[in-house]
């Protein structure tokens, strides 16, 4: 279609986004593509059933059980499935182990790839241009700005999830947690520590 006759077709719309959602939603319902009753359970799953509490259980198990940790680092997808987590955006998981010498951090420079089953849907900052642009170029500066101070003698390894693998960072177990149960440990694990923008 000629753009001259459709001045706003490919530019920023003047219509509020809510109205565009309503129009498209109504048409997709009419065409039988969208069945709200059928899909609301799916949306409920993404909004409430998945989230960082799942990843925290994986991390706490890895801290508590050396055999599980070994399996998790060898085949993340299978070990995460042992705890019942998997599905879209989590079918090819790689777990990155932080050590006293190495701090891992994850980004998706091209879009918003993120391990949904273990972390939920990504926060806005993860999808934002500043994070995606700067995290590969000056990770140490970005992390420090976000309150994550990585000692100068620790190497930062940035992972750009540009293909099918999705990453989960396995943070170091905090000191002074020897007597903790798995449940106690899971409560210490934050979403940001599993993306690699926080240290515990």
């Amino acid at each position: 279609m000629a753009e001259s006759s459709q001045p706003h077709r490919h530019h920023s719309p003047t219509t509020p986004v809510e109205e565009r959602v309503e129009a498209l939603e109504a048409l997709l319902i009419e065409k039988g593509v969208l069945d709200p009753a059928a899909i609301d359970a799916v949306i409920e799953h993404y909004e409430h059933r998945i989230g960082p509490m799942n990843g925290a259980k994986v991390v706490a198990r890895a801290w508590s059980d050396p055999d599980y940790r070994a399996r998790l680092l060898k085949d993340g997808t299978a070990a995460i499935a042992e705890l019942g987590f998997g599905g879209p955006e989590g079918n090819h998981m790689v777990v990155l182990e932080n050590t006293p010498q190495i701090h891992n951090a994850v980004v998706c420079t091209l879009c918003s790839c993120y391990p949904w089953p273990v972390l939920g849907l990504p926060p806005n900052w993860y999808k934002s241009p500043p994070y995606r642009a700067r995290m590969v170029r000056e990770p140490r500066v970005v992390l420090a700005e976000m309150g994550c101070h990585v000692p100068a003698d620790v190497e930062i390894r940035v992972w750009d999830s540009s293909a099918e693998v999705r990453y989960l960072v396995l943070p170091e177990r905090p000191e002074g947690t020897d007597g903790h149960t798995e449940e106690d440990l899971a409560a210490l694990v934050t979403r940001d520590s599993m993306i690699g923008v926080a240290r515990l």
Partner: protein, 207 residues
């Protein structure tokens, strides 16, 4: 395509703005945009269309709009390109022009090419990313194109997005995680970056 979405290494952005206790959706329209996109994906409507439709949004619009507006726009664009709805139907329902992403410029591929299942490069191999600027979809970020790196992990065999988005056929290839030193990427010391790449994005380092 060397699109606005390909942000790795772009300078000029400010601090990462973190929202405390951020909800999954900030408004009901975001939930509804997510819902209609998931429905369209589950219905197979967006196969090979979704990411490339986002990439074809006008750059100024892409940078200035919220994330789920990208999803809404890509789903509407993909639905039109799949022939499920027309621009006229969208305009009529909205009462004015329904903004969409720009048209596909890449030619349709007649043949997907030969699939392969065996990794040609081994762990520790030196590789270079092809310098390549297709009009269509690719998952080879601009900041590693032409750059030398080292294979650090052999991953699975997957459909090549560059083909899938522009061809009715599919080509599958091994994928890799490749480590790039900061000196190679940016010309100065820093921390290394690992990028996941399909085999046809890679070539011998001194080829």
């Amino acid at each position: 395509m060397d699109g606005i979405h390909d942000l790795g290494g772009v300078q000029g952005f400010g601090a990462v703005e973190v929202e405390r206790d951020e909800p999954t959706f900030h408004a009901d329209w975001e939930r509804r945009a997510f819902r209609l996109t998931m429905a369209a994906m589950m219905g197979g409507l967006l196969a090979g269309r979704f990411r490339h439709a986002i990439e074809r949004m006008d750059p100024a619009w892409y940078l200035s709009s919220p994330y789920y507006e990208h999803w809404l726009t890509a789903t509407a664009t993909g639905a039109v390109e799949a022939g499920v709805l027309s621009e006229a139907e969208l305009d009529q329902r909205l009462g004015r022009t329904f903004a969409l992403a720009r048209p596909i410029r890449a030619p349709v591929l007649a043949e997907p090419g030969t699939s392969s299942a065996r990794h040609r490069h081994g762990l520790g191999s030196a590789v270079r990313v092809r310098e390549w600027h297709p009009l269509g979809h690719t998952r080879a970020p601009r900041y590693v194109q032409g750059k030398r790196g080292t294979v650090v992990r052999l991953d699975g065999v997957f459909s090549v997005p560059d083909v899938e988005y522009h061809c009715t056929g599919r080509r599958t290839e091994p994928t890799y995680s490749v480590c790039f030193e900061a000196t190679e990427l940016w010309g100065e010391a820093g921390d290394p970056v690992h990028v996941d790449l399909w085999e046809s994005y890679l070539e011998a380092p001194d080829g």
